[in-house]
């Protein structure tokens, strides 16, 4: 890599990918069908690859992943939300993969420090977004039960979507344009899925900030405990 990426920005984007990768990995052994188990694990693997690319430019990737405290992580609160039922996972995927796809698409077409990583990642994320959109359509326009669950999931996660468009220093983007395109895309998918775009606030009531400032939700601490305990219990172990 020729240009070095701004560390705080790489941390933010890298932590998004790392944390969501771990959450998706939790589906292993629990997914509704085998194909879906494989799909979620593949998406998790792509995200882990992106996380490694980004975090290894900031420092030692293992130390960053396994030895940081909760407050040092800069990921969005959206990606740390528990998997919930399958609809919750798909709603989280829809919101996040649309964001990541639009963001990486714009970064890839520029000539900034993130262009090489973005050009690589956007091709993978295209598939993640497609996967989420297809499932949103099937669940939303499916049975009464699946429709109801998908609608509840979209609403439950809606308040975590505002944070995505808070500018990340060091990431040169048209953030307002990103938000407009994200809203248009998600509105269109939800409409085709016979779902209603949630009306509630897009952010919590906390003025102090959110994930990008290191403020996380309660489930994140428990996720980190599980993710880090092996490394912390056996520092430097190898096999």
């Amino acid at each position: 890599m020729t240009a070095t990426v701004p560390a705080q920005a790489a941390l933010a984007l890298g932590d998004d990918a790392l944390v969501l990768s771990h959450r998706l990995g939790e589906w292993a052994g629990h997914a509704p069908v085998l194909e879906e188990e494989v799909a979620l694990a593949n998406i998790a693997l792509d995200l882990l690859g992106q996380a490694r690319l980004l975090l290894s430019q900031v420092g030692d990737e293992d130390e960053l992943a396994y030895l940081r405290e909760e407050r040092a992580f800069r990921n969005l609160q959206l990606v740390e939300q528990p998997n919930g039922d399958f609809a919750h996972t798909i709603a989280r995927q829809l919101y996040f993969s649309t964001y990541q796809d639009l963001m990486y698409g714009e970064l890839a077409s520029g000539d900034g420090e993130f262009a090489p990583v973005a050009a690589k990642a956007v091709k993978e994320v295209d598939y993640h977004r497609d996967h989420a959109e297809q499932w949103t359509l099937r669940l939303g326009d499916g049975t009464e039960e699946s429709h109801g669950r998908m609608q509840r999931a979209c609403e439950a996660l809606w308040r975590f979507t505002g944070e995505m468009f808070q500018p990340v220093p060091g990431v040169d983007l048209d953030w307002a344009g990103l938000e407009a395109r994200w809203t248009a895309s998600v509105t269109s998918v939800l409409g085709r899925a016979t779902l209603t775009v949630p009306e509630g606030p897009r952010t919590g009531a906390w003025a102090a900030g959110a994930g990008r400032q290191g403020l996380h939700t309660e489930p994140f601490g428990r996720m980190l405990a599980e993710m880090q305990h092996l490394h912390r219990s056996h520092p430097g172990a190898s096999w």
Binding site: M1, V38, A39, N42, I43, G49, A115, P116, K120, A121
Partner: protein
């Protein structure tokens, strides 16, 4: 475009050796056919640098590829072999050679379709069954045994098969 010096006979030979290493997950393909080998530079006596690009960012095969290249070039008398990962320009399935595509089909994996000049491949374009040749095939899952493949089924012969999906 940076002016590159023409490869020396030694570099050509080392590239041939590195390029002939089989892909760890798709051993019918060599790294040269897969299109992931970007450059081989001899930097001094017994010292060589190999540039490798990953297919997918999270592809776990990259580490095996690197150590296989190191071993092959080491056996050829190169004492110091460094394999570095390069990202740009990003790898595309268009980088798979014609011979590589033929081998994939022979191995029972439908090869990726070529990209149009700009934009993604239309999903309506059919993928041919590598077993019976029928174009009447259906998508079972966009994600299959590895990140680079999708799972399809042939409607004519009913066999499921992997499709190296376009990237």
């Amino acid at each position: 475009m940076v002016t590159a010096t023409a490869p020396t006979p030694l570099e050509t030979e080392l590239r041939r050796l590195a390029g002939s290493v089989p892909d760890p997950e798709l051993p019918v393909l060599s790294l040269e056919e897969l299109g992931v080998l970007r450059a081989v530079h001899v930097e001094g006596p017994g010292r060589v640098r190999v540039e490798l690009t990953p297919t997918y960012t999270g592809c776990p095969a990259v580490e095996a590829m690197s150590s296989d290249i190191e071993r092959v070039l080491h056996d050829h008398g190169m004492e110091h072999v460094s394999v570095v990962r390069v990202l740009s320009p990003a790898w595309s399935t268009d980088d798979i050679s014609a011979e590589g595509r033929r081998k994939l089909a022979e191995f029972g994996i439908a090869p990726p379709r070529p990209h149009s000049i700009d934009g993604p491949v239309a999903l309506t374009l059919s993928v041919r069954c590598p077993h019976c040749g029928s174009t009447d095939t259906e998508l079972l899952s966009r994600f299959s045994s590895t990140a680079c493949k999708a799972l399809r089924r042939c409607v004519s012969c009913r066999e499921p098969f992997d499709h190296f999906k376009e990237l």
